[in-house]
Structures are given as structure tokens and as C-alpha cells.
């Protein structure tokens, strides 16, 4: 066998091995990401269950322990960022990603319901926004709308934004959509029980929110 041919054969095998290793490492990292997401969701699920249990023991719940921007809010936001990144890496059709999204949607709904009850009991006045989007390529404004809501959420900590993939097959989500009478005109918003459609710029979205009742993240005091 000619030397160059032998080297070429060996180089092909080595390159294939390197490629396979790179592929394996990439898959392992994605597996670690998915495991991290599951861990976070389990943790949040437990935290929500804990708060619900505390709330059920009504007399035992001190409103001083609850704030509009509870630690759950920041955990949910962190989870959302990771989930979005993973979905971008692995694609929406990935089964694991879809399962995690379903769980995440349920956690959001549970947090929404819990915060509604807590607000009522403790006289808090957060603003709840249910935001519905699609990432099937049929909602060009959705990415910008999401970005604007992220900005508003960070600027107004009392603004609680819950984002849902409209097309996700989750019974509780379908019920939420039905209750709020959300039509398939995305991006869609449900603010204090009223539905709005199509807005993706800051001014339009800000107009449908009672932001003047909310403190900003740069405020030196926050309402209790």
C-alpha cells in the first residue's frame, strides 16, 4: 500500500473518530442541560407545593413572608431562559424539550393561581399578564413581543408575566385559553381577564398594562 494511501485511510478513521467524539460530547452536554432543566423544574414544583400547603394552613401563612416578586418568580424566569435556549439548540420537535415545556407550563399555571390567591389574601396588587405565542413559524411578531415583555418584567418587578406556547398540548393550558377566551391570533395577551392581540412594540404593550400602578426596579422603596 502506498504511504499516502495508508495515511489517508488512517486520517479518515481518525477524523471519523474525532467527529463521533465531538457528536458524543455535544449530546452529553445536551443531556446535562436537560437533566438540569428537570432538576430545576422538580425544585420549583416542590417549592410551589410547599407554598400551597402553607397557604392551605391559612392561619399559618404570614403575608410578611410573601412579596410580589417572590423567589419563585426569579427561578421561573431563569428556567424559562434555559428552556428557550435548549429548545433553540435541540429544536421544538425534540420529545424531551416538549415534555419539559409541558411541565413548565403547568408550573406557571400553578404559580399564577397561587399568586392570585396570595394577592387576594394579603392585599397585594401585582399585574398578571398571560402571554401566548407560537414558535411554529406562524408568528413573526412573537420574538419581539417576548423581548419587550422581558424588558417590562425586569423594569417592573410587580409585573408577573406568564408565557405559554399556544400550540402546546396540555389540558390545563387549553382550559386557561378557554377561560380567558384567547383566540388563535398571536401574539395574544390576557391582562386582568381582558384579551389583546397582535401588539409587539413597547408602546402598544405598555398601553394595555396598568404600569402607572407599579413601582420600577429602580425605585428606592417598594409597596408592601
Amino acid at each position: 500500500m502506498k504511504p499516502y494511501f495508508r495515511n489517508a485511510l488512517l486520517a479518515f478513521v481518525i477524523a471519523a473518530a474525532l467527529f463521533g467524539t465531538g457528536f458524543w460530547v455535544s449530546n452529553r452536554i445536551n443531556d446535562l442541560r436537560l437533566a438540569e432543566l428537570r432538576n430545576i423544574q422538580d425544585r420549583i414544583g416542590t417549592d410551589i407545593l410547599s407554598l400551597e400547603t402553607q397557604f392551605a394552613l391559612l392561619e399559618g401563612l404570614s403575608c410578611q413572608n410573601i412579596r410580589e416578586n417572590s423567589v419563585l418568580s426569579s427561578e421561573l424566569n431563569a428556567l424559562a431562559a434555559r428552556l428557550a435556549y435548549t429548545e433553540n439548540q435541540l429544536g421544538s420537535a425534540n420529545e424531551e424539550v416538549e415534555a419539559l415545556k409541558r411541565q413548565y407550563s403547568l408550573l406557571e399555571i400553578k404559580d399564577f393561581l397561587l399568586m392570585q390567591r396570595v394577592s387576594e389574601k394579603c392585599g397585594l396588587k401585582p399585574v398578571f399578564v398571560l402571554y401566548f405565542y407560537s414558535n411554529q413559524g406562524d408568528c413573526k411578531k412573537c420574538e419581539t413581543a417576548g423581548h419587550v415583555l422581558t424588558y417590562l418584567r425586569e423594569t417592573y418587578p410587580q409585573l408577573r408575566v406568564y408565557s405559554f406556547d399556544y400550540n402546546l398540548d396540555v389540558g390545563a393550558l387549553k382550559t386557561l385559553i378557554t377561560i380567558n377566551k384567547i383566540e388563535n391570533k398571536l401574539p395574544a395577551y390576557a391582562v386582568n381577564g381582558k384579551a389583546y392581540y397582535g401588539f409587539s412594540d413597547l408602546e402598544s404593550i405598555a398601553n394595555i398594562l396598568p404600569l402607572d400602578t407599579l413601582a420600577t426596579s429602580s425605585a428606592t422603596t417598594t409597596k408592601k
Binding site: 489517508a8 465531538g22 452536554i29
Partner: protein, 413 residues
């Protein structure tokens, strides 16, 4: 689009990795090691060095002085300076050397570099013919290092190891990094007789080659590539002398660099087309089966990857700008307290393999630096080589493809 982009990048990376691993393996082969160990053996046949000059008033003196300083028996060395109808003071500059017994000066009407080379060949009877560009200069031991590699009757040409002289500007350091790669690249290809160019910066030929195959031809202004392909087709070997140091002046501005590389790339494509029977032809060994096909794949791949990257980047940029315009400027660019989060590290197959390919590239650059005994003064050039050439190389490649497709002929200068 994303999936197609990743697929094509992955395929491109795989082939690139394969070729880089092949070069690395060949570097450690017996033949390559033997070439690295080859030393001057005291055998000094007659050599004529032909220096074609066209408007080289600024550099010709240095070139000639370096030839006069060659550590080679003066009675075995002839220097032929061919003034190809210069309209500056080149004629006067070379006339200063008319008193040297081993320097011959020829003045002729302008006819192009290949005509000057041929005039020089006809003017001598030396056993070996060397060619040297008038803006390059040689190290004193270069010629004897080269002659030591004519160790087989079928070695028809030996080429030198070319570097940029004293790189100072950022652009020069980038080119020096590229030339370090080329030193290692040519050394390795030489071990498998895979070279397809005999550069004008001190390549030495057996006279027998010109007697059998004819002298230089116009060849799309890349006669150095054409003669090499002609030699390979006729069964001659082309070898590299890794310790034969030659230095050249790098294009000092970006437009000049692009013009130079467009010419080289055009020559590669046009000569490649003329000698297309060698592509994929096992009769021509590594040259036919690897080097030539890979050079074509590289050109096509770079063009396709560049287009896809531009489209992807444009799409990303468009989304980014649209989102950035939707919120206050300060929000888009605010940096909250930095905390490293492994989760968001962009590690996928393409990134990992791309990093590996770049690492191997750096290893080859180091090999070139060690081979040529280059001091590590080009750090910035090595660091910025990939990002800069990644951006600029597609420009001259696409330009060359357009020139060939549209039949545009650009002037040498």
C-alpha cells in the same frame, strides 16, 4: 435553514479535519523526517539564478546582494538579471553589477515574466536553473540547502521555504502566520510528491526538465503553477527544502493583498482546469487523489460556507436589530453582574470540531515556525489569522471565481 447550514458546515469541517489529520500524520512519516534531516553534502553542480525584473528599482539591489552572498562556489554560480523593459531606473540599478564576472545582464522589450525567465534560460548552460523574484532575497545557505535535495534523478525541481521579511504591520504579521502554515504544508506535501506549484521565490529546476518539457509559458500569469503541473504530469518529482530560507516583501495594504491572492486563485483554477485530467486520477498519487481535489473542495466549500454564513448572520442581525429597537437602548446592552453559567456555553458538534480544526492549524503553524526557525514575533498574526482570513479570503476567492467565469483578465499590478 439552520439545519441545512449546520449540515453543510459539518461536512466541510469533516473534510477539513480529514485533510489536516492527513498532513499531521505525513509530517511524522519516514520520508518527511528524512527531508528534515537532509543536509548539504558538498556536491555543488552549476546553477544559474534567473531574476526577472520589471520596475524593481526599490528591491533589486537587495536581491542581487543576497545572491552574491550565497554560500556557494562562485565558479559554479551564475546570476542572470533580465530587465523586462522596465520604465523606471531598474536598468540603471542592475547595470551597477555589470562588472561582476558571474553576473549576466539582459535587457529586453517587455513581454511578461515568463519571457524574461525563458530569456535567462537560453542565456546559460548551467545544469540547474533557479528562479528568483526581484522583490525576494535569499539566506546565504539557501542554495546549498536546496541542492542537497536533488538526491534522485527524477527530482526535477526543489522549492524553498518562504517567509515574510521582518513583519511589522498587523497585515504583514497575518501573512507571516499564513506563510508559516505554507512552510509546513509544502514540506509535508513534498513527502508525498503532492506539490503543484514551484514558486518564483527560489525554485531550482534541472535543465533537463526544460529540455524535455519546454520552457515557461504565459499560463494565465501563473507560469510557476503551470510548469509544476506539467512536470507532475510527466512524472517528475517536486521536492521542498525546508531549511532553505527565502524572504519576500508582503503586500502592505489590503487591496494589494486581495489583488495578489485573486491572481493566485485565478491561476489555480485556470491551470487546474487545463490539467483537469489529473484530478481524481490515481496515476498521479497524492497529488491527483488528495491535494488537487481538496484544493477544489476548499474553494467551493469556502464560497458556500461564506454565503450561508452571510445569510445566517444577516438573519440573526435582522432579528437582533428588530428586538433592540423595540426596547430602550440601555436594556439591550446592559451587562448585569457577570456570573459564568456553563448552561449557555455554545458547545455543539460544529463548535467543538471547529475549535479542534483551529487547534490543529496552530500546531501546523508551530511546525512551520520550528522548521524555519522563526522567532515567535508574530503572535498577533497567529491569533488573528483565522478570524481575519475567515472574513477576507472569501472575497478574493469569489472575485477569482467571477474573473474566471466572466473571462476577466487583471493586470499583474
Amino acid at each position: 435553514m439552520n439545519g441545512f447550514f449546520e449540515f453543510f458546515i459539518s461536512a466541510f469541517l469533516f473534510v477539513g479535519l480529514f485533510f489536516e489529520v492527513f498532513l499531521l500524520l505525513t509530517f511524522f512519516d519516514a520520508e518527511a523526517k528524512r527531508r528534515r534531516r537532509t543536509k548539504p553534502d558538498g556536491n555543488f553542480p552549476t546553477v544559474a539564478v534567473i531574476v526577472p525584473c520589471y520596475n524593481e528599482e526599490n528591491t533589486i539591489a537587495r536581491t542581487v546582494e543576497s545572491l552574491l552572498a550565497l554560500e556557494y562556489p562562485k565558479d559554479k554560480l551564475k546570476i542572470v538579471l533580465v530587465n523586462d523593459g522596465s520604465d523606471d531606473t531598474t536598468a540603471q540599478a542592475i547595470s551597477l553589477y555589470s562588472s561582476y564576472a558571474n553576473i549576466k545582464i539582459i535587457h529586453k522589450k517587455n513581454g511578461g515574466k515568463y519571457t524574461a525567465l525563458n530569456a535567462g534560460i537560453l542565456a546559460t548552460e548551467s545544469e540547474f536553473i533557479a528562479v528568483l523574484d526581484a522583490d525576494s532575497f535569499v539566506s546565504p545557505e539557501a542554495l546549498k540547502e536546496i541542492m542537497a535535495h536533488f538526491d534522485h534523478e527524477r527530482v526535477g525541481a526543489v522549492i524553498a521555504a518562504l517567509s515574510i521579511w521582518n513583519p511589522r504591520s498587523f497585515l504583514e504579521k497575518l501573512q507571516q502566520a499564513e506563510y508559516l502554515l505554507a512552510i509546513a504544508f509544502r514540506h509535508v506535501l513534498s513527502a508525498v510528491n503532492g506539490l503543484y506549484v514551484t514558486p518564483g521565490t527560489l525554485s531550482v529546476f534541472r535543465r533537463q526538465v526544460f529540455e524535455e518539457l519546454g520552457t515557461f509559458v504565459l499560463a494565465h500569469n501563473s507560469e510557476d503553477m503551470e510548469i509544476a503541473m506539467r512536470m507532475q504530469k510527466a512524472g517528475w518529482r517536486i521536492v521542498n527544502a525546508p531549511h532553505a530560507r527565502v524572504y519576500t516583501k508582503a503586500p502592505g495594504t489590503l487591496p494589494k493583498l486581495v489583488r495578489q491572492r485573486t491572481r493566485w486563485m485565478t491561476g489555480l483554477m485556470q491551470n487546474g482546469f487545463d490539467y483537469r485530467a489529473m484530478y481524481g486520477n490515481p496515476r498521479y498519487g497524492a497529488l491527483g487523489m488528495l491535494t488537487l481535489p481538496f484544493s477544489t473542495f476548499a474553494v467551493v466549500g469556502i464560497i458556500v460556507v461564506s454565503f450561508l454564513t452571510v445569510i445566517q448572520t444577516g438573519s440573526w442581525l435582522s432579528d437582533f436589530i428588530r428586538n433592540a429597537l423595540a426596547v430602550p437602548f440601555s436594556f439591550t446592552f446592559h451587562v448585569s453582574s457577570f456570573s459564568f453559567d456553563w448552561f449557555f456555553l455554545p458547545l455543539n458538534t460544529v463548535v467543538i470540531l471547529g475549535a479542534l480544526a483551529i487547534l490543529i492549524l496552530f500546531v501546523r503553524m508551530c511546525a512551520g515556525a520550528i522548521l524555519s526557525n522563526t522567532k515567535p514575533s508574530v503572535g498577533m498574526g497567529i491569533v488573528w489569522y483565522v478570524p481575519f482570513y475567515g472574513l477576507i479570503a472569501p472575497v478574493w476567492i469569489i472575485r477569482a471565481v467571477a474573473d474566471v467565469a466572466l473571462g476577466i483578465r487583471r493586470s499583474w499590478r
